[in-house]
Symmetry: C2
Amino acid sequence: MGNIIYVVGFGPGDKMYLTGQAKDAIENSDVVVGYSLYAELIKKIYPDKVYITTGMKQEIERCQICINEALAGKTVALVCSGDAGVYGMASPLLEIMENEEVEVVVVAGITAALSGAAGLGAPINHDFCLISLSDLLTPWESIEKRLRAAVEGDFAIVLYNPSSHKRKDYLMRACEIMMDAGASKDRICGYVENIGRVGEKKEILTLEKLKSTEVNMFTTVFIGNSLTYEKNGRMITKRGYK
Amino acid sequence: MGNIIYVVGFGPGDKMYLTGQAKDAIENSDVVVGYSLYAELIKKIYPDKVYITTGMKQEIERCQICINEALAGKTVALVCSGDAGVYGMASPLLEIMENEEVEVVVVAGITAALSGAAGLGAPINHDFCLISLSDLLTPWESIEKRLRAAVEGDFAIVLYNPSSHKRKDYLMRACEIMMDAGASKDRICGYVENIGRVGEKKEILTLEKLKSTEVNMFTTVFIGNSLTYEKNGRMITKRGYK
């Protein structure tokens, strides 16, 4: 073994969301590399592994550490919350990887769209879009264009990164854009904060009420399509139109 | 225990894709209910459980069986391939559920968009849409509208149910619509057949080549966004535009 980097999606954080493949990858690794905040979640499950952690926005440094460790003969687990390939580390690693002697294996995990949906009922049980509201790497114009296209296509929509300290009003702006694009103010929406973790909080509400709701950066937001409805406290998007 | 229905997404089929939560749900159930073809995959992992299986398109009958078993005091696992809430059984069950004494717990699983993406590299590492090409429950006009909106929003796109015996030309029609909506014929695409199962097959190719490719019903198709590229045999969608 060695010379391998597993890019591992570990889901919301609790051990119960790990797949067998993710467990094997972490257990077989000599070193676990990750963003410090999320690596703490894995440390609780695997306290005896060797960890190398870096801060937020240091994605490229993190990838370079993995490559160096793998070139030194190690088996490396680069861990990501959620899925490895949905706003995850699979893409930055593969972008900078130039060493044919290092094998990269992407290990899928439960992304927040899936774990959050399970908590709310069945909000994305038909065609849907994932859109991140973070404009760190994407111009706001592109985000706005996608929000409009998603409403025009009558997709259910999942919003990642709906808020941060610097972007407190982004969810409100997104709601306004979706209404302007034709989504009714009564559209059924929902959000889940701290999915599967201590302090989990969820609510089903209208788009209008969502617009004036402040959520934090650990929240995933769901916008129904035109036929989504609430029943017995669950958000339900039908599998079809017929 | 009893009076519980777990709607369990078990991923592509192999044991390694099961989460701990899915394993617990199946192991703690008195009876496992599912579509016969996919229940076979779970039988290989858990040969000693009690199974009740039904044929394709008998979703409502399957849900009713679960409700009856749960009302009789059983703990039931309603199993779905992929995720329980992405074109899965969470929605039909919650739609017909009228019995407050039965608790429904949705257990998220690895949907084909995630497992297929892991096999191809990082094709959906930024905003993306899932669209099913099946017009059994959705009029083709809605599918076409979504394909156009997805291209106009420059989303990466994942196509589920790209083909069947009766719909051999649907992928070709979808490719034509996406090109007509502005996707370049050189757009990087990929597909994975039998993800994580015997006979897995994958290919990265242009949208033009995809248009003339015949895939089967066990295939998941990925269309890149305008910046998706191929490198060292991997399909990569960057995390942002900057």
